[in-house]
Subunit: 157 residues, 2 copies
Amino acid sequence: MSPAPEDATPERLRAIPSRLLAGAATAADRLVNERLAAEGARKWHFAVLVALDETGPASQAELSRRTGVYRSDMVAVLNELADAGFLVRDPDPVDRRRNVITLTPAGRARLHHLDALVTTAQQDLLAPLAPAERAELTRLLTLLNAHHRPPHGGGHA
Amino acid sequence: MSPAPEDATPERLRAIPSRLLAGAATAADRLVNERLAAEGARKWHFAVLVALDETGPASQAELSRRTGVYRSDMVAVLNELADAGFLVRDPDPVDRRRNVITLTPAGRARLHHLDALVTTAQQDLLAPLAPAERAELTRLLTLLNAHHRPPHGGGHA
DNA sequence: CTAACTTCATTAGTGCGACGAACGTTTATG
DNA sequence: CATAAACGTTCGTCGCACTAATGAAGTTAG
């Protein structure tokens, strides 16, 4: 037979870093989202919960900066988390433009649960790599992110 | 003063591979798209042109497999490329379900042009890495893609 | 040969993530 | 005090990944 399992992505395309990154990111996102979706969560829910747990109550704008979620999109995320009782949104008495977002005990429990899911998803993602390779990949990606993420507003011009 | 360059993404978030991948992929895509958009192109245009140049005329379904572009989305991409005169879409005489997509001379020229843009975009993307690191990153990403890309339809199985 | 299955091109539509524009409110600054 | 800036919010855009459904054209099985 050999009916030609013509999968053959051209070598020229295969070797392109931006394409490799896009593919890996898609696979990674799918893995994480599958796991989280099973619990009715998405990755920003997790990101916001982590940010709150790590640095304490914060305004929405600050959460946005910490997590990388856009201010516009943050609103919906917080609505969902608040509706589920994982955090509370109170007006800030010292600056009435702001809301103070605070994690609830239920939110902290939720975080621990989602944390486990995300952690195993990372392990599955990196399964084909040896421990040293995982560390190296993480290091290289961190370099790329740092370089192409001027600490705000596109920096370089 | 230290007016608080409160950038601080929590360490717990920073260290997550799937997040690093997403960030790097976004930066990479932005770089490539910026360059291509200046010429009225998008990354799929480039991918399709490469596939045609590399392996010759093909049906749309085959191009879809080669480039990773969904069949549904391929239609629009080919329309745009055909409208610009970079390729022609002819009915396949031996299998009248198919269209044979063929690169025109103008398409080949376009490809060479876009190729230059994409190449420099890759260099800019990997600028913060040493040559050996670039190779290593590419290798690791290739491993991830291979592992999480069971030759088709996502399902693997 | 006919019926059932599959492939192909195409259209339309979903969901999500990234992002911009604008508005009203509130706080800072000149 | 006037003006600018930041905040929360709503609405809308664009691109990508992906599903569903349809009509036409091949393929396979009885």
